[in-house]
């Protein structure tokens, strides 16, 4: 009974909150609401027995994306004129939403109500994949090729983000003096490292993995960047490039190596699969953390001192 | 024994030089001229060899894979040789003329490059062995003549180019629709004597629609009324281009195409059976009269010649669209005769413009004294156009008249006579005033030995002689008339 109530509440709240996010006039409000929305969707994932996704949502969807959006607002207008004007005159929008929901809902409800999907197949082959956790098995072995391309997506995004905002604000002594954030950073760092390590390790047999761990690591870095303790990693630095690209290179190598012995792409030998996946995940954790850091191109300098850009 | 390389090499003999000429620098005048003449001579020789071979009954066919279900076919039959020989000879002459005419102007590499492409396309049209190949070269012709029309680069030339494109591309579109329709009915229709469509003769509606589309498309280039509007406008092009457009390449390609459609695609019996011949003949008749009347109104010499072309080319269409041997012979032979005569006239017009800067009919008074040879050539051409023996034009009209009577359509004789009267009406005054009236002011004497540069004079005289010869020796076996009789008899063999 309470289960249904909880599910019903969540399921109802999510679209409602989404609607609120989009109808508010102020951008900063929208972002705050969006963070709340991320939280609720994490609860949704939790209810749907998808802890892996809840973890990623917690790390990225709420934590980093929220920070990123908030960070972006420093540059853009608080309340753009068009938003205010358009927020009111939109009866058709509600209508369109309702119609679309009905149409799609019709299709969703026409789906078979109790399909196991590919669950049994995954279960049957899980032993061969080298890892115990089914999601990790799918992610890094059965559909490892998707993940390889996903890493490429991350690299492209990082490259693009750095290409358009190439500056990297260095540590400023001013900010470093702030005792509050300094202490926060000091206390966060070991915890973050610990949890990140734990998540990579746990990925083998339970929810967790490179992306979650990388996001956690990046969280610490983001705090450092936002408090001007650290500059955004630069593509021109060789060390940064190695940190960024070791993971992908290793992944490509692991993927291509089976070809040499007449196997197929990403056809990992059964005995080594677990180890290889673990190594790749370790390297990818660093890559992902680097990529996420690169999305934060330093703090916005106060507009009075804009000319210097530092 | 089929010879596979000769048709292709006839095509390449103008295509390759054209491409090379594009790469030549503007200053390399000698190389360019040499290349042009070499190519023209080569083509003449190749054509001669092929003509002789076809006369002896040899087969010439080049077949290249194009689509899975359609080949590119170049085949020399007697009809295509008629056109090829005409083109090769006139190209040779026109090249010499153009070298002289364009002496010292800009962009000659471009000009001669496209000129050669244009001839190559004409060769392709003549040699095309099926409808698809025909269409490909027909489009190529449009593209390669456009730069020639706008060659001068003046706003007026650009406007003319626009009009030209508008008409020809619309025509090409209609043609494409027709070709595609036939293709879906009968595949890539090969040109065969007495037609290739007898197997699908039951699809009457489709066949009629396709026929109308095809004739509509080809009618643009043939300048059948009301699709003739581009022709007078395109007169802004340099004289050799006008000569080429009006005498050989473009309008003839259209007329040639119409003939192909009627005789080698549909087959004359099928066309007759579909009942589309009579309407076509009527359109041709209207065009003949309309062109003549409009020519009468023109004060500009080249414009007058242009409208005269509108009317003269329609003779060809008229000839082939009357069911009967004689009229067909008349129409086909006019393909050659009109080409030779009209090119003479355009050369003359070019000579007048080049030497004396005379463009209008009224300014030609007494020009005969200053430029006697040119004016003589003009006179030959004009008399031929009117149809006065012994110039070639007489042969045409004679056969057409007989054909009209054979087909029990005496009204066409009236049309022919009226048109001849009108022809006389717009040509004779020019001839008269050129020879017998005093010039308004004395012409400046020629700085050279001849009345005009030899490069301009010789082609003019040569074509005039040819038009006379075609009329005088029409009875010879290898004269245009003789050749046409041969192939017409094959078409009408039951």
């Amino acid at each position: 009974m309470t289960d249904v109530l909880l599910d019903g509440c969540l399921a109802l709240c999510l679209p409602l909150l989404a609607w609120l996010v989009l109808r508010t006039e102020s951008l900063s409000q929208a972002v705050v609401l969006f963070v709340a929305f991320g939280l609720l969707s994490a609860l949704g994932w939790a209810r749907l027995d998808a802890p892996d996704i809840a973890l990623v949502e917690a790390a990225v969807g709420t934590g980093l994306t929220g920070a990123l959006l908030m960070h972006t607002l420093s540059w853009t207008e608080e309340t753009p004129p068009d938003v205010r004007a358009r927020a009111r005159r939109r009866p058709w929008a509600l209508l369109a939403t309702a119609a679309l929901t009905l149409l799609l809902g019709w299709a969703v409800l026409a789906l078979p109500a109790d399909s196991p999907g590919l669950g049994p197949e995954v279960e049957a082959r899980r032993e061969d994949s080298g890892v115990k956790h089914p999601v990790t098995a799918v992610l890094l072995n059965f559909r490892g090729y998707d993940t390889l391309l996903e890493i490429a997506v991350l690299l492209v995004a990082a490259l693009g983000a750095r290409a358009v905002n190439p500056r990297s604000e260095r540590a400023s002594s001013d900010a470093a003096k702030d005792p509050l954030t300094g202490e926060l950073f000091r206390m966060m760092t070991p915890a973050l490292l610990l949890v990140a390590g734990y998540l990579v390790w746990v990925g083998d047999h339970g929810p967790g993995g490179a992306f979650q761990a990388g996001a956690i690591l990046a969280g610490g870095g983001v705090v450092a960047i936002l408090t001007s303790r650290m500059g955004t990693p630069r593509m021109s630095s060789l060390r940064v490039r190695w940190a960024l690209l070791t993971g992908p290179l290793l992944f490509i190598g692991v993927g291509v190596a089976p070809l040499l012995s007449g196997r197929r792409l990403l056809e990992l030998p059964e005995k080594l699969a677990g180890t290889l996946i673990f190594i790749v995940e370790m390297a990818l954790t660093v890559t992902i953390a680097m990529v996420l850091l690169m999305f934060f191109p330093g703090t916005r300098p106060s507009r009075a001192g804009r000319g210097g850009e530092r | 024994m089929t010879n596979t390389w000769l048709p292709l090499s006839v095509l390449l003999s103008s295509l390759l030089p054209g491409l090379i000429i594009f790469l030549l620098a503007e200053e390399q005048r000698r190389t360019r001229t040499l290349l042009n003449l070499l190519a023209a001579v080569t083509k003449l020789v190749l054509t001669g060899v092929m003509a002789w071979g076809v006369y002896q009954g040899r087969q010439y066919e080049t077949r290249l894979t194009f689509f899975p279900k359609a080949d590119l076919v170049l085949r020399a039959d007697s009809f295509s040789l008629l056109f090829i020989t005409l083109s090769a000879v006139l190209w040779f002459v026109t090249t010499i003329y153009a070298v002289g005419y364009l002496e010292g102007t800009d962009h000659r590499s471009r000009f001669f490059g496209f000129f050669s492409l244009c001839v190559a396309s004409t060769m392709g049209i003549a040699l095309a062995g099926n409808l698809l190949t025909f269409f490909l070269f027909y489009e190529m012709l449009t593209l390669s003549t456009y730069p020639l029309v706008i060659h001068r680069g003046t706003p007026e030339a650009l406007r003319a180019g626009n009009v030209y494109l508008r008409y020809t591309l619309t025509g090409a579109t209609l043609l494409l629709a027709g070709v595609a329709l036939l293709y879906s009915l009968a595949g890539a229709v090969e040109f065969t004597e007495r037609g290739a469509l007898s197997a699908v003769a039951a699809h009457r509606t489709e066949l009629i629609v396709a026929f109308v589309l095809l004739i509509g498309g080809l009618g643009v280039k043939t300048a059948l009324v009301p699709l003739h509007g581009w022709l007078p406008v395109a007169m802004v092009a340099p004289a050799p281009v006008s000569a080429l457009l009006h005498a050989v390449a473009v309008v003839k390609a259209g007329a040639f195409g119409i003939t192909r459609i009627i005789y080698d695609v549909y087959g004359v019996y099928l066309v007759h059976d579909l009942g589309v011949m009579q309407p076509l003949a009527m359109v041709a008749a209207v065009t003949i009269l309309y062109g003549s009347v409009r020519a009468l109104q023109q004060g500009d010499l080249k414009k007058r010649l242009a409208y005269s072309t509108v009317s003269q080319v329609a003779y060809i269409v008229l000839g082939v669209s009357i069911f009967g041997t004689a009229s067909t012979i008349g129409g086909l032979v006019h393909l050659v005769h009109q080409g030779v005569m009209k090119i003479t006239l355009f050369f003359c017009a070019g000579n007048y413009a080049e030497e004396l800067h005379v463009h209008r009919v009224s300014e030609l008074r007494g020009v005969g004294r200053r430029m006697p040879l040119t004016t003589a050539a003009f006179t030959v051409g004009a008399l031929g156009m009117i149809g006065i023996p012994p110039v070639a034009g007489f042969i045409t009209k004679w056969y057409l008249g007989i054909g009209a009577l054979e087909a029990h359509q005496p009204w066409l004789v009236v049309v022919l006579l009226t048109s001849s009267l009108l022809n006389a009406g717009y040509f004779l005054p020019i001839v008269y005033s050129a020879w017998f009236q005093a010039p308004r002011e004395e012409w400046k004497p020629s700085p050279r030995r001849w009345e005009i540069g030899l490069l301009l004079l010789l082609p003019t005289v040569a074509t005039a002689v040819l038009s006379l010869a075609a009329g005088l020796f029409a009875g010879a076996e290898l004269s245009p008339l003789g050749w046409t009789r041969l192939l017409t008899e094959r078409e009408f063999r039951p």
């Binding site: 509050l180 954030t181 202490e183 926060l184 206390m187 966060m188 915890a191 | -």
Partner: protein, 103 residues
């Protein structure tokens, strides 16, 4: 129901009550600073009591440890973040209710 379970339930309920109180506070208090105060109640006591209640039910020490770790992190971060938020609010010119803004 065992005494342990009863105790656990009591903790949970108390935690929930604090959460409610915090929410009511955030809703009802007059200014930013007071609302911040209400927020800390949820962070410290609300979550703390819930964690304690759950720890009583937990099967293993590891689980209980993790639960307290969660609470600890929330405590630390709330200590800093509330301070940061308050400072930001002050800089943005929010005036405490019934008081004057410090120069």
């Amino acid at each position: 129901m065992s005494p342990l379970e009863l105790l656990s339930a009591a903790f949970l309920l108390a935690g929930a009550a604090f959460c409610l109180a915090g929410t009511v506070g955030v809703l009802r208090f007059p200014d930013v600073y007071c609302r911040l105060h209400a927020l800390t109640k949820v962070d410290n006591l609300g979550l703390g009591l819930v964690v304690a209640g759950l720890a009583l039910q937990s099967a293993s020490w590891a689980t209980a440890l993790k639960l307290f770790l969660v609470w600890l992190f929330v405590l630390i971060s709330s200590a800093f973040t509330c301070q940061l938020i308050a400072r930001a609010a002050l800089r943005r010119g929010a005036v405490p209710s019934g008081g004057r803004r410090e120069p």
